[in-house]
Symmetry: C2
Subunit: 225 residues, 2 copies
């Protein structure tokens, strides 16, 4: 495995190649050490880098909006996309079983390895170098980093995911309603090919649909279907 290619994609040359290898070592490898500690550190590194980036980019945006923007950038799906852009999957060390299980393409494994790589660069190169690399990767991955592009509602996001993964559109159905007319609440379910992916209670049907869509997204991401 030629780690030079990965280093070229990253734009960073590790002095300590063992540190890079550790960052690429998934826990399934059953080696004495794996990348979980580096991932723990890298997660915090990315949180800070993105927080600072957003504060500098949006001088007048309030904290609530900044938090939402960060949540849209710092999550498993986002990091797994950055990992894919780096072809990181090709370089991860994992067990044969995990290999058979399509581990190289799992969002969770890719995202964790990406965080571990960032943790490793932070340890060796410091925050500034890590910042430059992370921001270059983020800006390359997103056409625009702003509220309009990043903060899509959950129903839209779910539809994009299900179209891409299953070629299907989610359906919303009223499951029940409760309470008197002036303060009725609704339970809406979201279905995909007649299978329920989530349901939620809301003050309006639309509100309940949004919450149900959020649950469905989490379910799909968790199951990594």
């Amino acid at each position: 495995m030629n780690l030079n290619i990965l280093e070229k994609n990253l734009g960073y040359k590790f002095k300590d190649k063992n540190l890079l290898k550790l960052a690429l070592t998934h826990k399934s490898s059953k080696t004495p050490k794996n990348n979980e500690r580096l991932e723990f550190l890298g997660d915090a590194v990315m949180d800070l880098i993105v927080a600072e980036y957003l504060c500098q980019k949006f001088k007048d945006t309030n904290e609530g909006e900044l938090s939402k923007l960060r949540a849209a950038l710092v999550n498993e799906t986002s990091f797994s996309n950055l990992a894919k852009n780096l072809n990181l999957g090709n370089f991860i060390f994992l067990s044969n079983a995990e290999e058979q299980n399509n581990g190289r393409h799992k969002n969770s494994i890719l995202s964790d390895a990406f965080e571990a790589i960032m943790g490793a660069i932070y340890i060796e190169g410091g925050l500034e170098i890590c910042k430059n690399i992370a921001i270059r990767l983020l800006e390359k991955n997103y056409d625009e980093i702003d509220s309009k592009s990043l903060l899509k509602d959950y129903k839209t996001t779910l539809q994009e995911i299900t179209q891409a993964k299953f070629g299907a559109t989610p359906m919303y159905k009223l499951i029940s309603s409760q309470g008197p007319d002036h303060e009725k609440k609704f339970v809406m379910g979201v279905f995909l090919n007649d299978k329920k992916y989530g349901e939620s209670l809301g003050k309006s049907k639309k509100d309940a649909e949004q919450k149900a869509a959020k649950k469905a997204i989490e379910k799909i991401e968790k199951e990594n279907i």
Copy 2:
């Protein structure tokens, strides 16, 4: 208000006094700007500083344990204690209403201001300076930073809190049980002076008590009773 004293307590002299003042400005002040953005940044700064500190201090500890240790150090109660050691409450700018409402002593306001100060030091002084200050404050506040000292169970923690705040010991009562004998589940409630502070379902009474105690701690912290 003599901010020199605060700077002396912090061990850091701000070049930009307006930045320091901004970090001390609670949103109740109704000034055009407040400390929320700095708090957002400072929160991420502290997360990274503590993550790195723990990684360096505990070379062989796994990620799960490191996460628990960090959660014990990076939270509202912990940061409000650091704030109190700095007498930060004396220096916060807040509205008269919040002042009457004992705002200067609220854990949430103190913790937020502490994070904002760290965010401000990070912006002006960079990560290394911020790291030195934060670690000095943490090590001064905790006798020992290790699992044995930090990771007390929730029942013990709740008892310490209720003893200190109310001079009372929490009582646990069985509220209900469900399921067949071989997989019975229990709902335990935790009471303080006959008022219920939390209840939770668990696989054993002990398990349910721990979860109920956790809820009670969160309730007490939230209400800042």
